[in-house]
């Protein structure tokens, strides 16, 4: 009997599992917006509004705003405002405003997310290019009321559409920050003002704005350095090593004749270092596409067009972002550790001088 009592006590006291909470006494938080506040952090929680009838399939939400010097202080402030406990276990999306990401970095936020026992580390991270992150949670979609749902479905479409952005959950963001040669890339969103008088799917009193993908936010360390605009994102995804399903329309020729790219297979080869000591890379992209019109270009012509777009994207990444969002440094770290030891401390600085060749190939799979 005594061992059983000890075992039960140990489980209760050491397992951290005596966290009983009645399911009827919680507010389910599904979205969190993090802004810079006057004295630190300003948090906005989007929670599911459970006041409707269970038979009502329409889901609505409400927001709770709180401020604090640190994130835990802001959480305390939020707890004081609600009768029921805020439950983060089903959080879908965290929206961080670009100012905060640029000036203070994501480390405090990620540290809290990883350390909090309740937080789900599969929640996605998004950067807001709107006036505030809270504005994103006040906006919505054309067909769904709850902003966090809209965000999640925009970044990670339930129908499997791909090629428009990347979804970065908390655990992967924390991993990218701590992996040599990798730079954090997060999807960026903005709010497009809706038409006057059109309430759309949003409820009364809500902004009529619509959430839109607005490129990718690139980071150096945990600080935001710049954006890759949305029209470049498909080509960026093609440049990433590996095989992926990236769907986008390649306008080949400017005559309205187009191909729909279905997927890409990218092979990254690390070459030897040149006289300047910088490494060289060769990126070979092999795409498969569907011909959308009878007059669509031939494969060779389309390959040239693809190569041109890939090079243009690569140029922007190298010249404007100051972040190795292609993870070329990681490639160097894995394959040539000696050279990485020489260059790693200055990375991604040497990337701007490195030789990078890009080559696109095309294969039409359907007419």
């Amino acid at each position: 009997m005594r061992p059983l009592f000890c075992l039960l006590s140990a489980l209760a006291l050491l397992g951290g599992c005596a966290n009983y909470q009645e399911p009827g006494h919680i507010n389910i938080v599904i979205g969190l917006a993090v802004d810079r506040g006057e004295n630190g952090y300003s948090l906005t929680f989007e929670a599911v509004d459970l006041s409707g009838s269970p038979k009502d399939n329409e889901m609505d939400s409400f927001t709770v705003s709180a401020e604090g010097v640190t994130i835990p202080h802001a959480l305390e402030d939020a707890r004081r405002q609600t009768a029921y406990r805020l439950h983060y276990g089903n959080l879908e999306t965290i929206v961080v405003h670009e100012d905060l990401a640029r000036e203070e970095g994501l480390s405090p936020l990620l540290s809290w997310c990883v350390r909090d026992a309740e937080m789900r580390e599969t929640a996605g991270l998004v950067i807001s290019r709107a006036a505030s992150a809270r504005e994103v949670l006040s906006a919505g979609g054309a067909d769904i009321r709850v902003s966090s749902y809209v965000l999640e479905h925009t970044v990670n479409p339930p129908d499997g559409r791909a090629g428009h952005t990347v979804r970065v959950p908390i655990y992967r963001a924390a991993d990218m920050l701590n992996t040599p040669g990798k730079a954090l890339v997060l999807p960026a969103v903005s709010v497009q003002p809706g038409e006057d008088g059109d309430d759309g799917a949003q409820g009364e009193g809500k902004s009529r704005g619509v959430i839109r993908l607005d490129g990718l936010a690139a980071f150096r360390g945990d600080r935001l350095t710049g954006y890759l605009e949305q029209e470049r994102v498909p080509y960026y995804l093609c440049l990433l090593r590996g095989r992926g399903r990236h769907e986008f329309v390649l306008d080949a020729g400017g005559r309205g004749e187009a191909l729909r790219v279905r997927d890409c297979r990218t092979r990254l080869t690390l070459g030897g270092s040149g006289a300047d000591g910088l490494p060289s890379f060769h990126i070979a992209v092999s795409a498969r596409a569907v011909r959308l019109s009878a007059g669509a270009p031939a494969e060779r012509e389309a390959a040239e067009r693809l190569t041109e777009e890939l090079r243009r994207t690569l140029g922007i990444i190298r010249s404007e972002l100051d972040a190795d969002i292609l993870a070329l440094g990681y490639e160097l770290y894995i394959r040539d550790r000696e050279q990485w030891e020489l260059l790693g401390d200055h990375w991604p600085g040497p990337l701007s001088g490195a030789r990078i060749e890009v080559e696109g190939a095309f294969r039409t799979i359907e007419n």
Binding site: L7, L8, L11, A12, G15, C17, A18, N19, Y20, Q21, E22, P23, G24, I26, I28, I30, V48, L50, G52, P54, M59, H87, G89, N90, E92, E118, R120
Partner: protein, 507 residues
């Protein structure tokens, strides 16, 4: 008029050493004294009409014997026989010749034999020379051979045991026409003197198990054994466990199949339930008709039963662990539905689940005790009306109704484990309520540890923990085709090929 004071009743069964005396009258008096106070006991003197010195006593219990048989086979010959003694013949010898000519009988040695015989409907004849004869003359009513209510089959034999021992043994012997079948009779109960029979096939039986059974049976001391489950509890390896150490069945075909696997069966007079041993844990999930239906269907059914056992034991606890401790693992739409419903229910989730489980068990028990038609109606009322009403009155959420119904219905699929399911379900429910998933895992681990430690008459009930053989796997969670099960199960030491379909091998 006041009743005469009754003499002290000698209720104790006479000792085995109380032997018959050489005097007819003294024997009759002793027998009368032994049954003193029993108005159903009859000691009837019979006088031969031709020889004055030939007096007898017929002893029996009223209502227990076949009156016509006794009248024609015993009373009539005794009263009217005219045989003269010749040479050294005693009167007893002559009478035995007369009576044996009419029906089989046996000589009694002690009063214990006489009392047991008379009490069980036999006719006891006390002879002038001081000896006594016993004639099987039972004439009490017994239930006919019908299909067991609890073990109905879609396809297969419909016969089931009744409450009388000898007809039950007949049902077994009819299926095993071999001298290899051995029957050993024993008597249990200091007062009930109930007969039991241990059956086995001599060439297949697991001897250590048989010896252990006999050792345990010999040590039983009890006033009466009214059902074979009395014996089961008394000889069980784990008397405090909710899991059984012995199998039980009311089907003779099931008993015979066990005997053919080297097991031992115990039948008790007055009980339609035969005990089989040793018992493997996986037998809890086997059904009689598994071998009469297509092996794919049988295997699927077995896996459903295993799944049902897990569901019946774990689902309520898992529901509490998820909804009260680990909401994050639920899909968001489901969590929203649960929370939304719970906000209108005034009771904590633990109390809600516990009380509904108790209500379900009450309804189940009521359904069993009620007449069959009414019982079904009770189930419908309970499941549909009461459940709907509870949800409408916001006494329970619909998700809890689903959980309790799932746990309840799945437990009905495995009646052999009803006690274990009950204990596990409530135990794990409590642990989950205390600790969430760690509590559930603690309960599950304890249950698994207990199950793995179960033994049946010296044999581990989960024999897979030893040397694993492919043949042993063919009748566990799945039932292989009969021709593929070439060897007997793991119980019999005689593992030689038991089944064959030679034409398949020669194709």
């Amino acid at each position: 008029m006041s009743e005469a004071p009754r003499p002290e009743v000698r209720s104790q069964h006479p000792p085995e050493t109380l032997a018959l005396t050489g005097s007819l009258d003294q024997n009759a008096q002793t027998l009368q004294e032994l049954f003193q106070g029993d108005d159903g006991f009859v000691l009837r003197p019979i006088q031969n009409r031709y020889f004055e010195e030939r007096r007898y006593f017929l002893a029996y219990c009223a209502g227990m014997m076949d009156q016509h048989f006794v009248s024609e086979t015993i009373i009539k010959p005794l009263a009217s026989e005219r045989l003269e003694r010749t040479g050294s013949d005693t009167a007893g010898t002559v009478l035995r010749q007369v009576l044996y000519a009419h029906g089989p009988g046996k000589q009694a040695e002690t009063f214990a034999d006489l009392v047991e015989a008379a009490a069980y409907g036999d006719a006891v004849v006390l002879l002038p020379d001081g000896s006594a004869l016993i004639f099987g003359a039972q004439g009490f009513p017994i239930r006919g051979i019908t299909e067991p209510e609890g073990e109905k089959l879609l396809s297969g034999p419909r016969e089931g045991f009744c409450e009388a021992l000898m007809p039950n043994l007949t049902l077994i012997r009819r299926r095993l026409r071999t001298n290899d079948l051995k029957l050993r009779f024993m008597t249990f109960g200091e007062r009930s003197r109930t007969r039991a029979c241990v059956c086995y096939l001599d060439s297949l039986v697991n001897r250590p198990v048989l010896a252990e059974l006999e050792r345990r049976l010999d040590t039983i001391f009890i006033d009466g054994t009214l059902d074979s489950h009395y014996l089961a509890e008394l000889v069980s390896d784990h008397p405090y466990s909710p899991f059984s150490s012995l199998g039980s069945t009311e089907r003779p075909d099931a008993v015979v199949s066990k005997l053919l696997e080297g097991r031992v069966a115990v039948l008790l007079d007055g009980s339609p339930v035969a005990l089989t041993l040793p018992y493997l844990f996986i037998e809890n999930f086997h059904a009689g008709e598994d071998y009469y239906l297509n092996y794919l269907y049988a295997s699927f059914s077995r896996m459903l039963r295993i799944l049902s056992f897990c569901a019946a034991a774990l689902v309520p606890g898992a529901y509490i662990a998820v909804t009260a401790f680990h909401q994050e693992i639920l899909p968001l739409p489901l969590l929203i539905n649960i929370v939304r419903e719970k906000q209108s229910v005034p009771f904590p989730v633990g109390l809600e689940v516990f009380s509904l489980l108790v209500i379900f068990d009450i309804l189940r028990e009521t359904g069993i005790r009620m007449p069959s038609g009414l019982g079904q109606a009770m189930s419908v009322v309970g499941a549909l009306v009461l459940g709907q009403a509870a949800v409408a009155a916001k006494l329970a959420s619909s998700m809890v109704i689903v959980v309790v119904a799932l746990a309840g219905v799945t437990s009905l699929l495995i009646p052999k484990l009803s006690a274990a399911t009950l204990v596990l379900r409530y135990g794990i429910l409590m642990l989950s309520l205390l600790l969430g998933f760690p509590g559930l895992m603690l309960g599950l681990s304890a249950a698994l540890a207990h199950i793995l430690g179960l033994r049946s008459f010296g044999m581990p009930q989960t024999v897979l923990s030893g040397n694993l053989r492919a043949q042993d796997m063919k009748d566990i969670a799945v039932r292989a085709p009969l021709f593929a099960m070439r060897e007997r199960g793991p119980v019999s030491p005689n593992r030689r090929r038991s089944r064959n379909a030679a034409w398949r091998d020669t194709k």
